[in-house]
């Protein structure tokens, strides 16, 4: 083995760098080669920043800045100056990005003004200046929406989720208020009607007050009262009902789950609406439990009020039922109209106690939505040695929550949140607990890359794959689990084309897999696991990381995994990796495999089944081919026996003796002819259709008469039961027509 290779292999196995062959990477500011093009994010048009719409609709609560500009330009940039408008508008979009990256915030409208001012200042004051103003004015007119701008930073996950959550809660609140106001109005109407019908309601004084001052003297209210008092209803309005309705009104009026319609400012703390936003699982859980009795009381009041309004409340039946109401808590359907709780926690700050509370929330089916923000998934394990164990713990909470089966789980890195906006909304609308596990990528201490790139890299490298698990989407994994947001989902690692210029100034392109090692290499805490190989020492024993992962190491390795990186000047560097990281990459790949299986990609059960079926099919084909070969020369021996005539499933009519009288009851048109002749002999069934109730209750003559008068001729008199009945010969003749 050559000396160079030997040094490489030694580093691979031990992580120690002999200085004459390898360089440390700490000071080189390297980043994965595939990131070479993403140095200046403000120059790129991508999903961020986002506009958190001030007036969200049912499905639209956030828009990307670039999307907003595209829509506006589609409307505004028309005609001969379309190109000019587009150019100017996109410059403004870029300027807004620059402002945001510099830390500016606020609503789009304000930033627009600021950015436009800067552009105008930078440009000259000639014609170009006025055309810029014109372009911007026209584009601005096409943007109808406004809202706070949010960049992909540490605050984004909580900001975006809270924004979506508020939109959902607002919608719920409106629906609930509308319902509540209706109940209060209708209940008050009942009490009012009761009063108007009472003696006091019909007193001269009240009557006078209801007419008003204008024509107060034109009526004799005493006389009117005397007359009305005479017509007072006899049936008393039960006192218990009056009391019940008053109590209902009190409960409905005192509810604190949603803000009431009136001005809330003056309310005391006891009557102020509850807050449902928490930053600790324990607090949320405690609040939920504390408010439960009030919630049950309100839910009960609503159910009783509905019955009261409908006039259906019956003390005999409902009193006992409502006494037990909510004894076992409420089910998700009953809880659905009430607000959901939102808890935003940061994984790094969570103690063991808080973890336990989180699991409690998730496993108890409560309507609590939890944002678990993870800023660092590469946290070094406490025992050193480059394992990713601590970060792994946070990463695995989402997987564990899926195991609970009835939790809506969304895992995503910040960079992908905009793509998951509808799924976030779905999670927030889900009736039950939801967990949003989000990696923000914002760990400035560990990397020079902006959070957007870090989080995108985590997702791309399968270190933090994006998925959702929606228990309400269907009965099985295929319907519930969604993994397709990850790029090239059927591969171990996504592969991208990468082009560079070599020493001979020739364009070289190759496909690079983006592996966990690429992601980890962006983190300076792991620099010691990497070593730069000077260009003159590059050799054939250096193979890409993904390739080395597929090799099983037996004995001394002769190939060393390496990756391409670029330095601050975008010069390509080759870096070799030690075995520790390779081990992590393998672990990451295995975890990705199990996610793939859940998502139906390379599912081992399905593949096994497929192989079995395929084998069976091949055997069958083989067999058929053999039999065909054997029978081919023989003349066809007639087609197989003609298929048996399918016996139609015809309903059998009941066997009837022609001697017994009967009625084709289902055809009876309820015309009363037969029952008028003899109501004992003929009677109506449940559906008011005639049948022979008692053949002995009348004479054969009546039977025949009924048959004759039957409008639809469905009475069959049969044979006479009494041979001594007079005039039988004639009756039998008349009956013949109805047999």
């Amino acid at each position: 083995m050559e000396a160079d290779t030997q040094a490489h292999v030694a580093f691979f196995l031990t992580g120690r760098r002999p200085s004459e062959h390898l360089d440390a990477v700490d000071e080189l500011k390297l980043r994965p080669a595939l990131f070479a093009g993403y140095r200046e994010l403000t120059q790129l048009r991508y999903d961020f920043p986002l506009v958190l719409l001030a007036q969200p609709t049912d499905s639209l609560y956030v828009q990307s800045l670039s999307g907003l500009f595209d829509t506006a330009l589609a409307a505004a940039a028309r005609g001969s100056d379309a190109e000019r408008i587009r150019k100017h508008a996109l410059r403004l979009e870029q300027e807004i990005r620059v402002l945001i990256a510099a830390g500016a915030g606020g609503p789009l409208s304000a930033l627009w003004e600021k950015a436009a001012g800067r552009l105008a200042k930078a440009g000259d004051k000639s014609d170009a200046g006025s055309s810029l103003a014109d372009s911007l004015r026209r584009t601005r007119a096409a943007i109808k929406l406004d809202g706070e701008l949010a960049d992909c930073d540490a605050a984004l996950p909580a900001r975006l989720l809270q924004h979506a959550w508020s939109a959902v809660q607002k919608r719920k609140s409106l629906a609930f208020r509308k319902d509540l106001d209706r109940l209060v109005l209708k209940l008050s109407d009942i009490l009012k009607a009761d009063f108007e019908r009472s003696e006091a309601g019909r007193s001269a004084k009240h009557l006078k007050a209801s007419v008003g001052s204008g024509f107060g003297d034109a009526f004799d209210f005493d006389a009117m009262s005397r007359m009305l008092a005479k017509a007072l209803p006899k049936d008393e309005f039960p006192e218990s009902r009056r009391k019940r309705i008053r109590e209902l009104l009190a409960v409905l009026g005192a509810q604190q789950f949603y803000p009431s319609a009136g001005a809330p400012a003056k309310k005391s703390a006891a009557a102020r609406p509850y807050s449902f936003l928490f930053d600790s699982c324990a607090d949320a859980l405690a609040a939920f439990r504390e408010r439960m009795p009030r919630l049950i009381e309100l839910a009960k009041a609503i159910a009783v009020a509905e019955l009261e309004i409908d006039g259906q409340y019956s003390e005999a039946k409902h009193d006992a039922l409502f006494e037990q109401f909510g004894a076992n808590g409420l089910d998700p359907q009953d809880l659905a109209p009430f607000p959901d709780y939102l808890v935003c926690v940061n994984a790094e700050k969570m103690l063991a106690e808080e973890h336990a509370q989180l699991m409690e929330i998730l496993s108890s089916g409560l309507p609590i939505k939890v944002l678990l923000q993870i800023d660092d998934i590469l946290e070094d394990s406490p025992d050193g040695g480059g394992g990713l164990s601590s970060g792994m713990r946070s990463r695995q909470i989402a997987n564990m929550a899926i195991g609970l089966n009835e939790v809506y789980v969304l895992q995503s890195s910040s960079s992908n949140l905009y793509r998951f906006r509808e799924r976030m909304l779905r999670g927030l609308s889900y009736r039950g607990p939801a967990l949003f596990s989000v990696y923000s990528g914002a760990n400035a201490a560990a990397s020079d890359l902006p959070p957007y790139l870090m989080s995108a890299a985590a997702m791309e490298s399968r270190a933090f794959p994006a998925f959702t698990y929606d228990p309400s989407a269907g009965p099985n994994w295929a319907a519930r689990f969604y993994l397709e947001a990850n790029s090239q989902v059927d591969l171990d690692w996504p592969v991208q084309g990468f082009a560079y210029e070599n020493e001979e100034h020739q364009r070289v392109s190759e496909d690079l897999a983006f592996t966990l090692v690429d992601f980890v290499a962006s983190d300076r805490r792991y620099a010691r696991h990497l070593a730069r190989v000077p260009r003159e020492k590059w050799n054939g024993s250096m193979i890409p990381v993904d390739e080395s992962l597929t090799r099983e190491r037996k004995g001394l390795p002769d190939k060393v995994p390496s990756l391409l990186m670029v330095d601050a000047d975008n010069v390509l560097q080759r870096v070799i990796v030690d075995e520790r990281l390779i081990r992590e990459a393998r672990r990451c790949r295995d975890m990705w495999h199990s996610l793939q299986e859940l998502g139906g990609v390379h599912n081992s059960h399905a593949e096994k089944l497929l192989a079995r079926e395929k084998k069976a099919w091949e055997e069958r084909m083989q067999q058929e081919a053999e039999t065909h070969a054997a029978t081919a020369p023989v003349a066809a021996t007639g087609a197989a026996a003609a298929p048996e005539v399918a016996s139609a499933a015809v309903e059998e009519e009941p066997e009837r003796s022609p001697d017994v009288a009967y009625i084709e009851t289902p055809r009876c048109s309820t015309c009363n002819e037969c029952t008028t002749i003899n109501a004992k002999m003929f009677a109506y069934d449940n559906n008011k259709q005639a049948y022979i109730a008692d053949i002995n209750a009348g004479t054969y003559a009546q039977l025949v008469e009924a048959a004759e008068s039957c409008q639809v001729s469905i009475i069959h008199p049969g044979k006479p039961r009494n041979p001594n009945e007079p005039g039988l010969a004639e009756l039998l003749k008349r009956a013949e027509a109805f047999q």
Partner: protein
């Protein structure tokens, strides 16, 4: 947990257990004064059966009628009823529905009531398409006033007003209804086929919008033999089947062999079928649940609170300023 949105909450399940159950007798009121053998009895039986099967609460159900034999219908239902004035059953019913959309409103009207004096209301009720179930009891004669020709009497019908036989072709209530804008449900039943009558009554009840059911009905008193050709020859009845309509049972199919498939959304075909008077089509001719109901179009999406009413009244009254006596001079 799965498909939770479709699941009922425990509360609503418990309340359902407390719901009342009704028997046919709960809807019967008095002994009908109709002649023995009258087809109205069959309609009454079918409607009472519907009320029981659907557990319609009597205090939430209204039958509105006009004048005629059929219009005595509300008297025999132990529900709310309104035995109205001649030809005006539909406007009354529309008023009831507008004010109390929570009520189930049925209309019973006869061929004279609906197609003669009430014809204008009939046309416009179809166009308004309010959620009502309308039964046209069509016996092709004025029975209550003892035999005068009605608009649906077949040409040549001898009656007290047409002793030499009626001169005009009968009006076809089906084609007229199917020709009105916004029509949403048209069916035809015959009182002597109670099974289909019930199925149609049920489908009409479940349709949201105005369901117009013409029921061809015998009058044993004044036109005793008029429908015999159709009653005695099942082949002169055409049953309409469709997956989205009705399906004739096996028992019925043995008697009525003349059946076709007819898509109730196909209005052109419905008009064609309805035009045939030699054969009586029985079934759902047209059913379009997507036609909007007038009460929904006019529904105020606000609570009708006293404040709202007061504000509306004030706004209305403010259009005209009424000066107190003597004030005009001062202003002038």
């Amino acid at each position: 947990m799965n498909m939770m949105s479709d699941m009922k909450s425990a509360t609503s399940c418990l309340l359902e257990m407390c719901d009342e159950h009704f028997e046919l007798e709960d809807y019967q009121s008095g002994v009908p004064r109709w002649c023995t053998g009258c087809g109205d009895n069959a309609i009454l039986a079918a409607v009472q059966r519907l009320c029981r099967d659907e557990a319609l609460r009597p205090e939430k159900t209204v039958f509105v009628s006009g004048i005629g034999c059929s219009s005595r219908f509300p008297h025999y239902m132990k529900t709310y009823g309104f035995h109205g004035i001649h030809g005006r059953a539909l406007p009354v019913a529309e008023g009831v529905k507008m004010a109390r959309p929570d009520l189930t409103v049925f209309v019973n009207t006869g061929d004279g009531d609906c197609t003669s004096i009430g014809a204008a209301h009939w046309i416009h009720a179809i166009r308004y398409n309010m959620n009502l179930t309308v039964f046209l009891h069509d016996n092709q004669i004025y029975g209550l006033t003892k035999k005068q020709a009605s608009p649906t009497s077949p040409i040549g019908t001898k009656s007290n007003t047409t002793p030499r036989g009626s001169y005009l072709e009968a009006l076809n209530p089906l084609t007229v209804t199917l020709g009105v804008q916004n029509v949403s449900f048209v069916a035809q039943a015959a009182d002597w086929i109670p099974e289909v009558l019930f199925d149609i009554v049920k489908a009409a009840y479940h349709h949201k919008g105005l369901s117009f059911v013409r029921i061809i009905q015998r009058c044993p008193e004044w036109l005793p033999k008029a429908l015999d050709p159709w009653m005695h020859d099942p082949n002169k009845v055409l049953l309409l089947n469709h997956a989205n309509g009705l399906q004739a049972s096996a028992g019925l199919s043995r008697v009525y062999k003349n059946q076709i498939e007819h898509d109730p959304l196909n209005i052109d075909r419905a008009r064609e079928i309805a035009s045939n008077t030699d054969i009586i089509p029985v079934g759902i001719l047209y059913n379009n649940p997507k036609v909007p109901c007038y009460e929904d179009l006019r529904h105020l999406d606000k609570l009708r609170t006293p404040d709202l009413t007061r504000a509306g009244l004030n706004a209305e009254l403010d259009k005209y300023t009424v000066w107190p006596q003597g004030a005009e001079q001062k202003v002038a």
